[in-house]
C-alpha cells in the first residue's frame, strides 16, 4: 500500500464518519458543523485529484457561503432540534436497508459490470503554476461561455426569488 492510498483511506474514513454524524446528530447545528468538515475533506480529495480551482471553490462556496446560510437559518428559526412527532416505527432501519441496497447497486453497476480500470497519479508540478488556472479560464470563457452566461441568469433569478419569498407585504401580515 502506497502513501497515497493510506492518505486516501484516512480521508475517506473522515468523510464517511462526518457524513454519518451529519445524518444522525440530534442537534441541527452539529449536523451543519459535521457537514462543514465533510466538505473540507472533499476539498482535500479535489487537491489530491489535481483540481485546485475546484477545491478552493468548494471551500469558499460550500463550506463558506452555503453552510453559513444554513447556520443563519437554523438559528433564526430556533430549529436546532424538532419536537418528536409521530414517525414511522423503525424508520431508520428501513432507510438504512434501502441505502445499503443503493450502495450495492451502485457498486455493482460501476465496479462489477464495467469497472473503471484507471489509476489516478498524484498531481504533477504543472498544477502549481498559473497555467493550470489559465486553462480552466480559457475553457470556461470559450467552450462553455453559453452555460456560464446561463448560470449568471440562474443566480439572478435565485436572488430575486429569495427576496420575493421573504419580503414582508406592506401592512398586511404574510
Amino acid at each position: 500500500m502506497t502513501i497515497d492510498q493510506i492518505l486516501f483511506f484516512i480521508l475517506a474514513a473522515v468523510a464517511v464518519a462526518t457524513a454519518l454524524g451529519m445524518v444522525f446528530s440530534k442537534n441541527a447545528v452539529y449536523s451543519a458543523l459535521f457537514l462543514v468538515l465533510n466538505f473540507a475533506t472533499i476539498a482535500v480529495f479535489y487537491l489530491l485529484l489535481g483540481a485546485p480551482f475546484i477545491a478552493i471553490s468548494q471551500v469558499t462556496v460550500y463550506a463558506g457561503a452555503i453552510m453559513v446560510l444554513f447556520l443563519f437559518v437554523i438559528m433564526l428559526l430556533g430549529a436546532e432540534s424538532l419536537p418528536p412527532g409521530k414517525v414511522l416505527r423503525h424508520q431508520w432501519i428501513y432507510a438504512s436497508g434501502l441505502a445499503l441496497i443503493l450502495v450495492g447497486e451502485a457498486v455493482y453497476i460501476l465496479l462489477g459490470r464495467n469497472a473503471a480500470t484507471g489509476m489516478i497519479d498524484r498531481p504533477d508540478a504543472f498544477l502549481n503554476t498559473v497555467d493550470s488556472l489559465r486553462e480552466i479560464g480559457m475553457a470556461l470563457f470559450t467552450d462553455y461561455l453559453l452555460p456560464f452566461e446561463a448560470t449568471s441568469i440562474l443566480l439572478l433569478v435565485a436572488m430575486v426569488g429569495a427576496i420575493v419569498l421573504t419580503k414582508q407585504e406592506k401592512g398586511g401580515q404574510k
Binding site: A12, A19, Y62, A106, M119, I120, A139, K174
Partner: protein, 100 residues
C-alpha cells in the same frame, strides 16, 4: 497511485448516506444538507473521472453544479423560512397543504 475505483466507491457510499438522511430525518434543514451531500458525492465522481482522463470538462461541470446548488439553497431556505412563519413548525410531516 490510487485506483479510480476507490473514489467511485467512496462517492457511492457518500451518496447513499445522503439518501438515507433524506429518508430518515424529519427536519427539512437536515434534508437539505443531505441533498448537498449527495451533490458533493456526484461532484467527487466527476472530478475523479476528469482526473483519470486528464480532461478539464469534468471540473467545469462541477463548477456549474456548485452554482446550481447555491441557487437551490438560497431559494429553498427562503421557502423554509416562509413555511415556518405561516405554520410555526417546519416538521415535513406537518407541511402537507399547498395553501398557507
Amino acid at each position: 497511485m490510487v485506483p479510480t475505483n476507490f473514489y467511485i466507491t467512496l462517492s457511492a457510499i457518500l451518496f447513499a448516506t445522503g439518501a438515507m438522511g433524506v429518508l430518515v430525518r424529519r427536519n427539512p434543514l437536515i434534508i437539505f444538507m443531505s441533498v448537498e451531500l449527495m451533490l458533493n458525492a456526484a461532484n467527487l465522481a466527476f472530478v475523479a473521472f476528469a482526473s483519470q482522463h486528464g480532461s478539464l470538462d469534468g471540473q467545469i461541470f462541477v463548477f456549474f453544479v456548485m452554482t446550481v446548488a447555491a441557487a437551490e439553497v438560497a431559494v429553498g431556505l427562503a421557502l423554509i423560512v416562509q413555511i415556518f412563519k405561516s405554520k410555526h413548525s417546519i416538521n415535513v410531516d406537518e407541511v402537507n397543504s399547498l395553501k398557507g
